[in-house]
């Protein structure tokens, strides 16, 4: 029965409407109040946002110290990094934070650096966004290899030869070889800050108990693993599911078989020439000695297996030293290091700084970069950070972590270095493809022969 006011339940409807109306009025007033305050907030923020925040605190200083009140004449530069400088527990990052503070203090009134920090994951997306909108940071950190090429080719990175030649800066470095990965067409485009080498860490007690000596050839390696297993230990711990971890081992095995990345890139060699196949076959052989959960363990867990004494060997980069010693201080005395057997060169990686070619203050930038390679910073790198310094600085070996000395031995004894395989290929995608192929082989999804064919196809289609 419909009447003018609608359906049957007039009474309820009207009461409801009345209630809503009252509520509505109150709500409308509330809404207006909220909108006004929001508008005020928005204007405040617009004010905050558009003034160039020239004198903001650096991330390193908690007390919020700003540059001197009179900012005229102070050259402001920005430095971008892939870890937060206050919240980090990474010793190297903490060292960088100290360096920044020192720089700002020493050059007060002349230069000032503001840091831009992100998470590692979002580092390149943000850097690329800044470059695309002409806000390239004056100095930024980069991993050499295809990641650096991305900035060299379009001319975003500035060549540094002239600056290196001045004041004998270049001579302070241990050798010219440290620049090999960042040289394009004879020009140097980045400055390395430290070197980390990938080697095998081992538990000296377990080795002794199983009667194993440090292996120097491939067969000795397999033999050592056999003995360790027989003695009841898990021979190797590794995060086989994490592509770059497995890639370290794969890279060494490829090196053992004589794979030549440069030849593969220009087409004079083929992935199918049998070398990759035998390297992959060796990987499968070695994987019998991985921990049972190797496929699923993350890198943190795999490393924890090692310093919690659940496995004998960990193949990792020397950045793990800080993590190992930090998590289990007692372990340092039992931790030895050996060169991956059967290869003459060592996989090395460096953090490097790039200067933007569009920077307004190149002198300030180079001054900053010099602070990262000066004695104080490099001493810290070795003594506390546990990474290999790039300059011939004298440091106190007794203060440094024990493992660093062993790594230095390995490094010194090697005939040269080569980069991580996934950082030495024509593109980051090629590197990732290689990693994934190796994981497939490990998981048994691909035979070594199939892997070789696959890589060759990829290269033919994408890299040559």
């Amino acid at each position: 029965m419909e009447n003018r006011y609608g359906s049957i339940n007039t009474a309820t409807d009207v009461t409801k409407t009345f209630q809503f109306f009252k509520g509505g009025l109150k709500m409308r007033k509330k809404l207006l109040a909220v909108i006004l305050s929001a508008a005020m907030a928005a204007t405040l923020l617009a004010g905050c946002g558009s003034t160039p925040d020239a004198s903001d605190e650096t991330a390193a200083s908690d007390s919020g110290e700003t540059a001197t009140a009179d900012n005229s004449g102070v050259q402001e530069i920005t430095w971008m990094f892939w870890d937060d400088l206050t919240a980090t527990e990474d010793l190297i990052s903490k060292g960088y934070a100290e360096t920044i503070e020192r720089f700002n203090a020493d050059y007060e009134g002349q230069y000032h650096v503001t840091t831009i920090t992100t998470n590692l994951e979002e580092y390149y997306p943000k850097l690329n966004a800044l470059v695309a909108s002409n806000e390239t940071p004056d100095v930024f950190i980069v991993s050499p290899g295809p990641n650096l090429t991305v900035y060299v080719e379009p001319g975003v990175a500035a060549p540094l030869d002239d600056y290196l030649a001045a004041d004998g800066w270049k001579d302070s470095f241990t050798s010219d070889a440290v620049f090999s990965q960042m040289t394009y067409d004879g020009k140097i485009y980045a400055v390395p800050l430290n070197i980390a080498a990938a080697c095998a860490f081992y538990n000296t007690e377990m080795f002794e108990a199983a009667g194993v000596k440090v292996p120097e050839t491939w067969d000795e390696m397999l033999d050592a693993c056999e003995k360790l297993e027989a003695a009841g230990y898990t021979p190797i711990t590794i995060s086989a599911g994490t592509a770059w971890c497995l890639s370290m081992v794969a890279g060494y095995l490829c090196e053992m078989e004589g794979v030549d990345l440069a030849a593969l890139e220009d087409g004079s060699a083929s992935w199918e020439d049998g070398k990759l196949e035998s390297a992959a076959a060796k990987l499968v052989e070695l994987s019998k000695y991985f921990q049972k959960t190797a496929a699923g363990d993350t890198n943190d867990v795999a490393t924890a297996n090692f310093y919690n004494e659940e496995a004998a060997i960990l193949i990792q980069g020397s950045w793990a030293i800080a993590q190992i010693n930090g998590s289990n201080p007692d372990f340092e005395s039992k931790c030895g290091v050996f060169q991956f057997p059967g290869v003459e060169r060592v996989i090395a990686k460096s953090d490097s700084l790039v200067m933007s070619s569009s920077t307004k203050y190149p002198e300030a930038c180079t001054a900053l970069m010099k602070y990262f390679t000066d004695d104080a910073a490099q001493k810290y790198t070795a003594e506390i950070g546990g990474k290999i310094p790039v300059t011939s600085v004298e440091y106190d070996a007794s203060v440094a972590p024990a493992q660093l000395a062993y790594v230095m031995d390995v490094f010194g004894g090697a005939k040269g270095t080569f980069g991580f395989y996934n950082e030495s290929m024509p593109s980051t995608e090629a590197g990732a493809y290689f990693d994934d192929t190796m994981v497939s082989v490990f998981l048994g999804d691909m035979t070594p022969a199939e892997a070789a064919t696959d890589m060759e196809e990829f290269y033919a289609g994408n890299c040559r």
């Binding site: 946002g49 206050t86 998470n119 943000k126 943190d300 993590q323």
Partner: protein, 287 residues
């Protein structure tokens, strides 16, 4: 046969109690599945990193409060929370206002292009943010809005509009026609109808979309990370990611930060969500 508002017929009391008990048992089980993982996060936040890997599921050896103090100071969580509140709050108010206005137009007002308009807005919901991030950032940088809170409020607002409009249109469409008719007869203007009748009636919808908008923006990471460089302007999710280092993650501090971050969120959303079910009249049972 007596029937009261409670919807059952007298005499079926036992059957109803059994059903009620079963319902409660099920709900408690569900609640356990929801709370247990979060309790684990709480427990882990009191451990050290090494403990997490050696014995992740046992009670912490000692209540290691340093995680919390470190997370708060080094992570600058206080400022981050404030920034998140400002950004999400302003986005919330503006998106509810602008969104419900557009939804009212599409849902209630009569014009030919209503449906295409809706599809147009929906497009915004379908595009993943990664696709548009760099062009968006480039334009904002040119306008001088990079590295500012306003610079992220605008994209957040725009991304929240499609969902708001989508849901609110539904609520406006299911409003009873009589109310509008009677208001017309009483000589109300269309604006009066909107503010005094439509909005209050769709209050539940407003709270629902408000909640969804607030929550989505509260946890948004990528835009905030790319658009904001100043430490003092970073929002909460960005601060949480500070504990993930380049080589390994500081789980214990990160979980401490997560717990700190949960508390204001829970308070805000409890307020909002309780409003949503306020509409349920006391004593009524709906099948």
């Amino acid at each position: 046969m007596k029937c009261d508002g409670r919807g059952y017929i007298m005499g079926d009391k036992t059957k109803s109690t059994i059903v009620k008990t079963m319902i409660y048992v099920f709900l408690i089980l569900v609640a356990v599945i929801y709370i247990a993982p979060l309790l684990w996060v709480l427990m882990v936040s009191f451990k050290t990193n090494a403990e997490i890997f050696s014995s992740p599921f046992s009670l912490p050896e000692s209540f290691y409060l340093e995680n919390y103090t470190f997370a708060w100071t080094a992570g600058k969580l206080g400022i981050a929370t404030l920034n998140s509140f400002i950004v999400c709050g302003v986005t919330l108010v503006l998106s509810m206002l602008i969104g419900s206005m557009a939804a009212f137009a599409i849902g209630r007002l009569r014009f030919k292009l209503a449906k295409p308009c809706m599809t147009f807005f929906l497009l915004g919901m379908m595009i993943p943010v990664h696709c548009v991030m760099i062009p968006l950032f480039t334009r904002f940088a040119k306008m001088g809005l990079s590295n500012s809170l306003t610079g992220i409020i605008i994209p957040y607002l725009t991304f929240s509009l499609p969902v708001t409009i989508f849901i609110m249109t539904g609520f406006f469409q299911s409003m009873p026609n009589e109310l509008i008719e009677s208001a017309c007869i009483d000589g109300a203007s269309i604006y009066g109808i909107f503010f005094k009748i439509a909005l209050p009636l769709a209050r539940t919808g407003l709270f629902v979309t408000g909640l969804m908008t607030f929550v989505a923006n509260w946890n948004e990471l990528l835009l905030a990370m790319v658009f904001i460089s100043d430490d003092a302007k970073k929002t909460l999710p960005v601060s949480l990611s500070k504990f993930v280092g380049p080589y390994n993650t500081n789980y214990s501090q990160m979980f401490a930060a997560i717990i700190i971050a949960i508390i204001p969120t829970v308070i805000v959303y409890c307020i909002f969500s309780n409003q949503i079910v306020d509409g349920l009249t006391a004593g009524a049972v709906k099948g």
